[in-house]
C-alpha cells in the first residue's frame, strides 16, 4: 500500500509540474503577442445582438461600433464626419443634409449611397408591434414610430441625403452619431425586412448569426461563440479609412471586474474596461497601460421630495449639500482626474455654467441649516445600489458610507437601504426612496442629453415642480440654434442649482487598461474607443 501511496504522490507532483511548465501564461504588462495574434478584450457584459438598433446596451455597441459606421462620429466629444464627410442643419432644425463619402463599400460588396441611408431610416421608422419595445433609442430620439414619429422623411440624390424631422430637437445632430443608428447594407435590409418578432424577449435569428448583416466598418464579424461569450472580428481590408492595425480582435464577455483583472494578469486577455480605481496604480506598477478618459458623466444624490416633507424645505436640501464631503469622495474613491460636480453636467459642455450657486462642504453651515429648519433628528431613507459598477459610480457602497456619516454628523438620522441594481433603478424611478445615488454618461456632446434626462418636466422620481425650470427646458429642447440652446441650458443649470432638486456629486473618469505590447487606441470620454487604431508594438 505504501508503494501505491508513493506512486500517487509522484504522479500528483509530476502532474502539477507538467501543468506549471506548459501553463505559464502570466502577463507582466509586456507579454509576447505580435502581428497576427488576436487581441483579446475583456468586455463587461455579453453582446446581445448584431443589429445595433435592437439594443441600448453599451457593451454591444462597443463591438458593433467596430463593424458598422454611423453618419457622424466623435473625436473626443466633438462631432466629426463619419460616413457623411460633411453635414448641415437647416435654420429651423427640421432638415439635416449629409454629403456622404464616395467609394464606401459594405462588407457584402454593396455600395453606400444616399438611398441606402434612407432605407435604414425608413426601416427604423416603420417598426411596429413588438419591434417598438426593443428599439429603445429610436423611440427615444425620434419619439415614436409611423405617423407619430418625429421623423418626417428622407430624400436622397446620389451621395446627398436629407433627413427631415417634424420638430426641431436638441437630440439632433447628436442622434446621427449614435452607434444604435448604424448604417446597414441594402442587402442586409432586404434580407431581414420581413422578419417577425414574437415578443421583446426574443432576439431575431438574423441578429444572432454572423453573416446576416453587413456594415462598412474597419472590422468584419468573423464568428460568435455563444458558449464562451466570444465575438471574433477580422480586419476589413477594403475599409474606406485607415485600415485596422490588428488582424483579429476578440471581445470576450467577463462580467466580474476582479475576474477581468485576474485574466489580464494571467495573460488570458490584453485589455479591459471599467478598471476599479483601487486597481489603477497597482496595474500601472505592473507595467500595464491604464489610460484614463476625460470626464463625461455625472453622479448625483437625488431627492424625492414627495416622500419626505423635510426635503421640500430649501434649507434641508442646502444642509444636505453642505454636509456632503464630495472632495473626499473624489480624492479617495474616484480615479485620478475625478472632479467635484458643481452642476448636473460635465465641464466640457458649452452650456456648462461657471456662475452657478455652489455648496461647499461646511458642516457648521449644514448643522445650522438643519436646526433652523427644525429638522434635527429627522430620518432620511437613503437608497443605494449593490452589484453594480457604472462609469460614473465605481464604488457606490464606499460613497454611500461617507455620505451617511456626513448626514448623521449634520443632524439627520439615516436609514440605509441597499437594493440590487435592477430593483434599484425601478425603486428610484417609481419614487420609492427619499435619497438615492444615480448618474448618467452622456450619449453625445449636448447639454440637453444631461439636463433633459431629469428636468424637462415633472417627474415623480424627483417630486418637485418649478415652472420656470420646466419652461426653460422645453424651450431649449426645441431650439434649433445650438448657441441659443446652450444659453438656455446654461440658464436652466443655474436655476436648477438655485432650487437644488438633488446634489451633483462628481464626474468620474473611467479607466481602461491595455497590455504594454499594444499601441492603445485614443481613449474617448464617451467610451467610444476605435479599436482599429490599435496595433501590436
Amino acid at each position: 500500500m505504501r508503494k501505491l501511496t508513493k506512486a500517487i504522490a509522484v504522479a500528483a507532483v509530476a502532474g502539477l509540474a507538467a501543468t506549471a511548465c506548459s501553463g505559464e501564461t502570466k502577463n507582466s504588462g509586456g507579454s509576447s503577442a505580435g502581428e497576427g495574434d488576436p487581441f483579446i478584450f475583456g468586455s463587461g457584459g455579453q453582446v446581445t445582438t448584431l443589429d445595433p438598433v435592437l439594443t441600448s446596451d453599451g457593451e454591444t455597441f462597443r463591438v458593433t461600433r467596430q463593424v458598422y459606421d454611423t453618419l457622424l462620429d466623435h473625436d473626443g466629444v466633438e462631432m466629426v464626419p463619419g460616413l457623411a464627410e460633411s453635414w448641415e442643419g437647416s435654420d429651423d432644425g427640421l432638415d439635416w443634409h449629409f454629403k456622404l463619402r464616395s467609394d464606401v463599400t459594405f462588407h457584402d460588396g454593396s455600395e453606400l449611397t444616399g438611398d441606402v441611408v434612407c432605407q435604414n431610416f425608413d426601416r427604423w421608422q416603420t417598426f411596429e408591434g413588438e419591434w417598438e419595445a426593443v428599439t429603445y433609442y429610436w423611440g427615444n430620439m425620434f419619439q415614436g414610430y409611423g405617423e407619430e414619429s418625429n421623423y418626417a422623411g428622407c430624400e436622397a440624390d446620389g451621395l446627398d441625403v436629407t433627413v427631415s424631422v417634424k420638430e426641431a430637437s436638441a437630440d439632433y445632430p447628436g442622434a446621427f452619431s449614435m452607434a444604435t443608428f448604424a448604417i446597414l447594407s441594402p442587402k442586409s435590409i432586404e434580407k431581414i425586412k420581413d422578419v417577425e418578432l414574437e415578443d421583446a424577449s426574443e432576439m431575431p435569428d438574423y441578429s444572432q448569426e454572423v453573416g446576416s448583416l453587413a456594415g462598412t466598418g474597419p472590422f468584419k464579424f468573423d464568428s460568435w461563440d455563444h458558449s464562451s461569450n466570444e465575438i471574433t472580428l477580422t480586419r476589413n481590408d477594403e475599409y474606406w479609412g485607415d485600415k485596422a492595425g490588428l488582424e483579429t480582435l476578440i471581445f470576450k464577455a467577463i462580467e466580474n471586474e476582479q475576474t477581468r483583472r485576474q485574466a489580464l494578469i494571467s495573460g488570458e486577455i490584453h485589455g479591459y474596461d471599467l478598471v476599479s480605481p483601487a486597481d489603477v496604480i497597482e496595474l500601472e506598477k505592473e507595467g500595464f497601460n491604464v489610460p484614463t478618459r476625460d470626464v463625461f458623466n455625472v453622479l448625483y444624490l437625488g431627492f424625492t421630495e414627495g416622500n419626505n416633507p423635510a426635503l421640500a424645505k430649501p434649507e434641508v436640501r442646502q444642509a444636505i449639500a453642505h454636509a456632503l464631503d464630495r472632495e473626499r469622495v473624489v480624492d479617495t474613491i474616484l480615479p485620478e482626474g475625478g472632479k467635484v460636480a458643481t452642476q448636473f453636467m460635465p465641464e466640457g459642455l458649452n452650456a456648462w455654467n461657471p456662475d452657478v450657486q455652489t455648496y461647499e462642504h461646511d458642516m457648521d453651515e449644514a448643522q445650522d441649516l438643519v436646526s433652523s429648519a427644525g429638522e434635527d433628528g429627522t430620518t432620511l431613507e437613503f437608497c443605494y445600489p449593490t452589484d453594480v459598477v457604472r462609469p460614473y459610480m465605481p464604488n457606490v457602497a464606499d460613497i454611500f458610507e461617507i455620505f451617511k456619516a456626513n448626514l448623521e454628523e449634520a443632524g439627520f438620522e439615516v436609514e440605509p437601504r441597499a437594493i440590487t441594481w435592477t430593483d434599484y433603478v425601478q425603486e428610484v424611478h417609481n419614487a420609492g426612496c427619499e435619497l438615492n445615488l444615480l448618474g448618467w454618461t452622456g450619449d453625445f456632446n449636448e447639454a440637453f442629453n444631461f439636463l433633459g434626462t431629469w428636468f424637462d418636466g415633472y417627474k415623480e422620481e424627483w417630486g418637485f415642480e418649478d415652472e420656470e425650470i420646466f419652461d426653460l427646458m422645453s424651450e431649449a429642447r426645441t431650439e434649433p440654434d445650438r448657441e441659443k440652446r446652450d444659453e438656455l441650458l446654461s440658464e436652466a443649470s443655474a436655476l436648477i442649482m438655485d432650487y437644488l432638486p438633488g446634489v451633483p456629486i462628481s464626474h468620474s473618469p473611467p479607466s481602461i487598461v491595455f497590455t504594454d505590447d499594444v499601441n492603445a487606441p485614443t481613449v474617448s470620454p464617451l467610451t467610444q474607443e476605435d479599436f482599429a487604431e490599435m496595433s501590436w508594438k
Binding site: 501543468t19 506549471a20 506548459s22 501553463g23 505559464e24 501564461t25 502570466k26 488576436p38 483579446i40 455579453q46 446581445t48 445582438t49 441600448s56 413588438e130 417598438e132 419595445a133 426593443v134 429603445y136 423611440g139 427615444n140 414574437e198 415578443d199 421583446a200 424577449s201 426574443e202 432576439m203 441578429s207 444572432q208 455563444h226 458558449s227 464562451s228 461569450n229 471574433t232 483579429t248 476578440i250 470576450k252 464577455a253 467577463i254 462580467e255 466580474n256 476582479q258 475576474t259 485576474q262 485574466a263 494578469i265 494571467s266 495573460g267 488570458e268 486577455i269 440590487t420 435592477t422 430593483d423 433603478v425 425601478q426 425603486e427 424611478h429 444615480l438 448618467w440 434626462t453 431629469w454
Partner: protein, 334 residues
C-alpha cells in the same frame, strides 16, 4: 425493477408541478421586472410599459401561469430576456459545461475522498486521520466562492500556472461534438484542445469539489470504522482470508453503501455550488445562467434551468437507488 423505475419517474410529475407553483409565486413576489434590467436608467414610463406589454407581464396572473405551464408541457420555455435566445438553445449549449465541471469535481472528490476516508479509518488516531478529519472540517466550512477566489489568486494570478476563466483559451478553435470540451478534444484528435480544457477545469473543479470531498472523506471514514467492527469482518479475518479480499469485498463493499447515497445527493447539490463556481470562473454553464437570470428577473431562463436541475436531481437519486442493488446483493433479494 422496471416498475420501480417507472413509478419513480411518474412521481416526478407532481413534484415538478409543485415546483412550478412555488417558482411562479416566488417570481411574482419578487420586486423589479426585466424591463428595468433591459432599458437604460432614463427610459420613459411609456417605453418600460411597452416592454412589459411585449413580455406579457401585463396579462392576468392566471394567464401568465397558464402560458407558463403550456410552455413547460411543450418544452418551449420561450426566450431568455437577457440574451434574447431560446432558453432551450441556451440550456443545450450550457448544460454540458456544467455537467463536465460537475463530473470533474465529483471524480476528484471520490478519487481523493474515498481513499482518504478509508486510510484515515484504518489508521485511526494517526496524523493522517487527524489531518483528514480537520481538513475535511475546513473543507465543509470554506465557502465555495471564497476558495475559488483564493485558488485563482494563487495558481493564476501569482504563479501564472493555470487560466482563470472560461472553458478554453480565447480564440481556440475546436470541434464541437458532444459539448464536453475535454472529450471533444480527444474524440477529434485535437489533443491540445483537450489539454487546454483540462487546464481550464482544474481550478473550478477543485473549488467545486471541496465540500463533496470533505463530506465523502468523513462518511467513508465513519462507515469504514463501523464496518471494520462488524462480525462478518472478524469472521473473514478468522477464516484466514487474504487482507486484500477482506478489505475490498468485506469492508469497502459494505462501507460504500452510505457513500453512494451521499454521492448522489451531493451531485444534485453541485448545481448550487456551480452557480458560484461558474460565476467566479466565468464558465458559461447553467449555474452562471441562473445567476444572471436572477439578477435580470429573467424568468423564462430561471424556469428552464430550475426545471432541468430538478429533473437531473431526481434522476441521479434514481440511479443511486438502482446502484444499491448492484453494491448490496441483500437488497436484490428483498
Amino acid at each position: 425493477m422496471l416498475r420501480h423505475t417507472l413509478k419513480r419517474l411518474l412521481q416526478l410529475i407532481p413534484a415538478l408541478l409543485g415546483l412550478t407553483v412555488v417558482l411562479f409565486i416566488w417570481y411574482k413576489l419578487m420586486p423589479g421586472g426585466p424591463e428595468y434590467a433591459l432599458l437604460p436608467e432614463n427610459a420613459s414610463d411609456a417605453q418600460r410599459e411597452a416592454m412589459r406589454e411585449s413580455l406579457g407581464l401585463n396579462d392576468s396572473i392566471w394567464v401568465q401561469y397558464g402560458n407558463f405551464l403550456k410552455d413547460i408541457v411543450t418544452f418551449d420555455f420561450g426566450s431568455s430576456v437577457t440574451t434574447g435566445r431560446e432558453v432551450s438553445t441556451e440550456i443545450a449549449e450550457r448544460f454540458p459545461a456544467t455537467l463536465e465541471l460537475g463530473l470533474a469535481a465529483m471524480v476528484l472528490a471520490i478519487v481523493v475522498g474515498v481513499p482518504l476516508g478509508y486510510f484515515a479509518a484504518r489508521k485511526r488516531g494517526s496524523l493522517l486521520d487527524v489531518a483528514a478529519v480537520s481538513g475535511s472540517l475546513i473543507g465543509i466550512c470554506t465557502p465555495v466562492f471564497f476558495l475559488a477566489v483564493v485558488l485563482k489568486v494563487i495558481f493564476a494570478e501569482l504563479l501564472g500556472w493555470l487560466p482563470t476563466l472560461g472553458r478554453l483559451s480565447s480564440g481556440e478553435t475546436y470541434t464541437d461534438i458532444t459539448g464536453f470540451r475535454v472529450l471533444d478534444g480527444l474524440l477529434s484528435g485535437e489533443f491540445h484542445v483537450a489539454w487546454d480544457a483540462v487546464q481550464h477545469l482544474i481550478l473550478p473543479a477543485m473549488a467545486l469539489a471541496s465540500i463533496p470531498l470533505a463530506i465523502i472523506t468523513r462518511i467513508t471514514r465513519a462507515s469504514v470504522l463501523e464496518v471494520m467492527d462488524e462480525d462478518y469482518v472478524r469472521t473473514a479475518n478468522a477464516k484466514g482470508l487474504g487482507q486484500t479480499t477482506v478489505r475490498v469485498s468485506h469492508v469497502m463493499r459494505n462501507a460504500l453503501l452510505p457513500v453512494v447515497t451521499v454521492v448522489g445527493l451531493l451531485f444534485g447539490g453541485l448545481f448550487a455550488g456551480a452557480v458560484l463556481t461558474e460565476t467566479v470562473f466565468e464558465i458559461n454553464g447553467i449555474g452562471r445562467f441562473v445567476y444572471t437570470a436572477t439578477s435580470n428577473r429573467d424568468f423564462p431562463a430561471l424556469l428552464g434551468c430550475i426545471m432541468l436541475v430538478a429533473v437531473v436531481f431526481v434522476l441521479i437519486n434514481l440511479l443511486v437507488d438502482l446502484s444499491y442493488n448492484l453494491i448490496d446483493p441483500r437488497l436484490r433479494v428483498k
